[in-house]
């Protein structure tokens, strides 16, 4: 019996050692340690042994089983490690193949800039208002203190609609000032993005349709100094915190005093000297970006306010102009021709 056990043990260990795959190991385990395995049966054989010999023989059998089981486990681990190493050595993908990208679309630059502009004002407590693009003479001109036969109307070459009516395509977003102020009482902080129209052919610097953002604030004490403060803050948010800003007198029928704001050319300003060949300012150093002023008393009266009690400022800027400066675009037509190769350069 003892010799038989020793022989079985040696044979099992030898088979384990010769296994080249995990499947073979399992077969060895079944053959020796399974329910009908050779070592398992050896245990059953103990019944036939004299009771006095049983403890010693039993210990021998268990020892043999443990040894075989340990050998199988060790060998299993080794084989698994080998298999993994083999996989790692051979499994390869070509990571340079193109990705299966879903097509990516792009937002229009005018909308991106408009959102950026509006966000700055919303951040300062301005509320967004909108108004119709098909306007009437009253809101577009008369209420804004354009006298019926004043040359100031010439500067706003108007597209008229529907013969026989006084309807027109608004030439600026300012009529929304009138609409908002007639409907609400101060204090007001309002910003108005929108599309406006002029009778201009589409060329590198003109478009019959373009975008403006209007803003105004009316309260008891809002001053020209506040106008400067709000616009300087806005321009530095859009063009950078170091941007130089200056204000010049100007004329608009609906503001008095009136101003235009310029920013220092962001290409020339850092170098200190104007470059006559500069693509952005053409050597002028300053770039006109918006018009503004204190709301004219005639406008305040037109909406039923008392100019002795409330006052405010208003400003208007060309979204297209800001976009042109920000993106360094030289031809306004790019915005309205919608060439996908142009649009694809903007984020989504």
């Amino acid at each position: 019996m003892q010799e038989e056990l020793a022989r079985l043990r040696e044979a099992a260990l030898a088979e384990v050692a010769s296994c080249g795959a995990e499947g073979e190991l399992e077969a060895v385990r079944v053959r020796y340690l399974g329910r009908k395995g050779l070592l398992t049966q050896a245990v059953r054989g103990l019944a036939a042994v004299a009771p006095a010999e049983r403890p010693a023989l039993g210990a021998l059998v268990n020892e043999a089983k443990d040894a075989v089981e340990a050998a199988i486990a060790a060998s299993g681990e080794r084989l698994a490690a080998e298999r993994l190493a083999h996989r790692l050595a051979h499994e390869r993908i070509d990571v340079t193949l193109p990705g299966r990208r879903r097509p990516r679309g792009h937002a229009h630059p005018l909308r991106l800039i408009e959102d950026e502009i509006v966000d700055v004002f919303v951040g300062m407590g301005f509320r967004v208002a909108e108004g119709p693009e098909i306007e009437d003479d009253y809101h577009n001109f008369a209420a804004l203190n354009f006298e019926p036969d004043h040359p100031a109307r010439d500067a706003q070459d108007t597209l008229f609609v529907a013969p026989g009516s006084d309807l027109l395509l608004r030439t600026h977003t300012s009529p929304v000032q009138i609409r908002v102020m007639r409907a609400a009482k101060p204090p007001l902080r309002v910003v108005v993005p929108g599309t406006v129209y002029r009778r201009d052919d589409l060329d590198p610097t003109h478009s019959p349709m373009f975008q403006q953002v209007e803003g105004f604030m009316v309260d008891e004490r809002v001053s020209f100094a506040d106008l400067k403060g709000v616009l300087v803050h806005f321009l530095r948010r859009i063009f950078g915190p170091e941007t130089g800003v200056r204000f010049r007198p100007s004329f608009f029928p609906f503001t008095e005093p009136s101003a235009e704001a310029d920013i220092a050319c962001f290409r020339c300003a850092p170098t200190g000297a104007a470059d006559p060949a500069c693509r952005i300012c053409r050597g002028g150093r300053w770039l006109e970006v918006l018009g503004a002023g204190m709301i004219h008393p005639n406008v305040l009266r037109a909406v039923g306010y008392d100019p002795e009690k409330v006052q405010g400022f208003a400003f208007g800027l060309g979204t297209d102009r800001i976009a042109i400066l920000r993106y360094g675009i030289e031809d306004l037509r790019l915005f309205y021709e919608n060439d996908l190769r142009f649009l694809a350069q903007f984020p989504s």
């Binding site: 990208r101 967004v128 007198p249 008393p297």
Partner: protein, 803 residues
């Protein structure tokens, strides 16, 4: 307004051109250009022709001996006509650089060497005449570089003058502004003619019959003039100021206008019937041939200048041809008047004439300048054209007209309130006085009377601007308003637009902004959705017929952009626009409504290593629209896609009206073949237009959460064979309509045509998920419900159930 620095310097001492430009820009006159002119090479000199002889060999060439200031005269060969000994002419010595960049050199003409070139004004860029040698003034000293002659070298400032500042449409006006801004003295000479001969009143009559439109009309008589070309300096000034020199009379009146801002007109006195001027409204049927040669019918209320026979000029706008000054004119009637801005503007707009005179009258001239300018013109004409000015001004009303502008009360506290910074009263007074206003104290305020040329100063606020302007806007502090801390707010539509923009770009679509105009035909063929019931709206004054109407649908813009991009070689166009459709409703009211328009065309871009993606199909468009709706919280059961049928908004058989809870919210489908044809499109264009205002409403909805299922679902499939025309959604709707709460979801997962399915039929496969919220469903229960579903479908539809 083009300002010559040499001319401006007659009135005010100004520093460097750059500093002046900066100062004017900061005072409200943006400088659009700063141009150096007449900087001629100093080797181009004044020459005196000593002798002019025919060339010995060649006809039409002249050999000139020219004194160019050196010890010996030089020999110059010229082919120019009209040369004579004694003439002063420009001579370019060898090596001179002409303005066009050419360099002159010694040349030999048929054996005679020419040591210089006699130049025309065109060659020197001083004028247009290239056919003759420029004749200089007889007192020009030989040898003087031409660039040193008076008025040759100059700097032109191009100023933008806003429409309220008509007073600055003159050299004097700008000089006045410069003087006020820099605190220097204004030189303001007022030349007057020496009067000789019989009084003018004996030979001229003036009567104003429309004093409301012309409160003051003045005339002077100048006898014995010689109408010749103007001297070089005058021609140079006019040309550089942007006007064409004509003859010395017209040029002199234009010179005075440019210098002092008052337009003048010269009539040939002999051609005025009865030598009388009547200022009146035009009568019906009257006609006038204006200086530009156009015969015009005059419109009755318009203001005209007439003689005893009829109109001779459009008042303030343009003179008439018949009374025009010509070379034969000997006696002049000079006109200077104040025409009301509205009267001139009316005529200018009616006739479409834009003249320098009208431009100034429309912006109000200075009443104080009417006589001064008339005197200045007479004096200049006398000097240049040898005229003799008759004594006296003939005017209506006699004794003149000089309105005083109303005084304005200016409160220093109003200045402080508007500007946000106080300005002491004394300083306010000083600034306004510098502008020519008279100020006197009135309790704590100032009473300010503006000068006659500042008709734009009408209100307290106008004066506040002047106070700020003279102090410089830079001197106003930068502050932030004191206001309650309230949050700002974007609009509902813009919030929705921003959300959809992110969604649609992630779907691979690119946003476009297209022009709102279209042509009449496209507008009829492409009604879109939001504008489908609107009447197209035509523009009164469109730029072209292609932009003659306002579009009813933004789709028209996307289709145009599609064509442009296909022309540029695009293979896939996926685009959207959030834009408006415009028109008139049944009641004739203007309507404009925002829409979301989507366009898909071509084959999808490749995904990974493939030549291209699959062709775009209706399902792609529908999927995008469904995602848009889902993002706004509108899911399938509430959305219906109803075939377009007779409503030919798109291709009638390949389109759908999209309904949400019974309300139509948009369309989707293929472009109508009739339009596709006119556009040369090879493939189907897939379009959708959704009512954006409705979408924006959905977007503001709150999220409502459902609790998650705790028991497993059981899925059973159904396959049916139906006619080709059978709508797949009918079965979905039917199953949902059972409203059994154990039916959790139903979806179509296959649509198959071909063997073994018979021709004209298709197989549809659906899967139904069954689930109960409170227990695990047993097999028997599911089978029972499923059998009920099958039974219902068999009853309702002509279909064959597949195993």
């Amino acid at each position: 307004m083009r300002i010559l620095l040499s001319w401006l310097s007659d009135f005010v001492t100004c520093g460097s051109a750059e500093a002046l430009a900066e100062r004017l820009a900061l005072a409200g006159f943006p400088v659009e250009g700063l141009e150096e002119v007449g900087r001629l090479d100093p080797r181009i000199r004044v020459g005196r022709l000593v002798a002019v002889d025919p060339h010995p060999e060649t006809e039409r060439l002249w050999v000139c001996r020219v004194d160019v200031g050196d010890a010996a005269a030089i020999t110059v060969v010229s082919g120019a006509p009209g040369l004579a000994a004694g003439h002063r002419v420009p001579v370019a010595l060898p090596g001179s650089r002409l303005p066009d960049g050419q360099e002159t050199r010694v040349a030999t003409f048929a054996g005679v060497a020419s040591a210089g070139v006699l130049c025309s004004e065109a060659e020197l860029a001083l004028g247009d005449d290239g056919g003759r040698v420029l004749l200089l003034s007889p007192d020009a000293v030989p040898g003087t570089p031409l660039v040193e002659l008076d008025g040759v070298a100059d700097t032109v400032l191009e100023l933008e003058v806003t429409s309220n500042r008509g007073d600055c449409l003159s050299i004097l006006g700008v000089a006045r502004e410069v003087a006020a801004l820099s605190g220097v003295r204004l030189r303001h000479p007022r030349p007057r003619p020496r009067e000789v001969g019989p009084p003018a009143a004996g030979d001229v009559g003036v009567r104003v019959e429309a004093a409301d439109l012309c409160p003051h009309y003045c005339a002077r008589l100048v006898r014995s003039v010689n109408v010749e070309p103007s001297p070089l300096w005058l021609r140079l000034r006019l040309r550089r100021a942007g006007m064409r020199p004509v003859n010395v009379i017209v040029d002199a009146t234009n010179h005075v206008m440019l210098e002092r801002g008052q337009p003048l007109h010269a009539f040939d006195w002999e051609r005025l019937a009865e030598h009388r001027i009547v200022v009146r409204r035009a009568a019906p049927g009257e006609r006038l041939v204006t200086l530009d040669g156009v015969e015009r019918a005059l419109d009755p209320p318009g203001l005209v200048i007439a003689d005893a026979r009829g109109p001779v000029a459009l008042a303030g706008v343009m003179g008439g041809q018949a009374s025009e000054v010509t070379a034969a004119t000997r006696i002049l009637l000079l006109e200077s008047a104040f025409f009301m801005p509205s009267a001139v503007r009316r005529t200018a707009r009616r006739t479409g004439i834009t003249s320098e005179a009208a431009y100034r009258f429309e912006r109000r001239v200075d009443p104080a300048m009417v006589v001064e300018a008339l005197d200045g013109a007479a004096a200049l004409i006398t000097r240049l054209a040898g005229g003799r000015t008759a004594p006296g001004i003939v005017e209506d009303p006699p004794g003149g007209w000089m309105p005083e502008l109303p005084a304005i009360r200016l409160r220093p506290r109003r200045v402080a309130a508007l500007l946000g910074v106080g300005v002491p009263r004394a300083q306010i007074g000083r600034r306004l006085s510098a502008l020519g206003a008279s100020c006197r104290p009135d309790r704590d305020a100032l009473l300010v009377t503006p000068p006659s040329h500042r008709g734009d100063l009408q209100r307290e606020e106008d004066l506040v601007e002047e106070v700020a302007r003279l102090g410089g806007y830079d001197a106003i502090p930068v502050s932030l308003p004191e206001a309650p801390l309230t949050s700002g707010e974007d609009s509902r539509t813009r919030v929705a637009a921003r959300r959809l923009r992110r969604l649609l770009t992630a779907e691979g679509l690119t946003e476009m902004v297209t022009l709102a105009f279209t042509d009449a035909q496209t507008n009829r063929l492409l009604p879109g959705f939001v504008g489908r019931r609107l009447v197209p709206l035509a523009l009164q004054n469109p730029l072209s017929s292609e932009t003659g109407e306002l579009r009813r649908s933004p789709i028209s813009g996307l289709v145009r952009a599609l064509r442009a991009n296909l022309g540029l070689g695009a293979g896939f166009v996926g685009a959207f626009e959030i834009g408006k459709g415009y028109g008139l409703d049944a009641q004739g009211r203007r309507q404009e409504r925002r829409a979301l328009a989507i366009l898909l065309y071509g084959t999808w871009p490749p995904r990974g290593a493939e030549r291209s993606g699959p062709p775009v199909e209706f399902g792609d468009l529908k999927g995008i629209v469904e995602n848009v709706l889902a993002d706004l919280g509108v899911e399938e059961p509430r959305v219906r896609w109803r075939p377009l049928g007779e409503e030919a908004l798109l291709h009638p058989g390949k389109g759908a009206i999209i309904e949400v809870a019974g309300t139509a919210i948009g369309v989707a489908g293929a472009l109508h073949p009739k339009i596709a044809q006119t556009c040369d499109l090879a493939e189907e264009v897939w379009l959708s237009e959704l009512d954006f205002e409705i979408l924006a409403d959905y977007g503001s909805r709150r999220v409502e959460l459902r609790s998650l299922p705790r028991f497993p679902a059981v899925t059973r499939d159904i396959a049916v064979i139906v006619d080709e025309a059978f709508p797949a959604a009918a079965i979905l709707e039917e199953v949902r309509s059972l409203a059994d709460d154990r039916i959790e979801a139903v979806r179509l997962f296959d649509c198959y045509r071909g063997a073994p399915i018979p021709e004209g039929k298709k197989s549809l496969a659906y899967s139904i998920a069954y689930r109960a919220a409170d227990r695990t469903l047993t097999d028997e229960e599911v089978s029972g419900v499923h059998a009920g579903v099958l039974q219902r479908l068999r009853e309702r539809f002509p279909l064959e159930l597949r195993a």
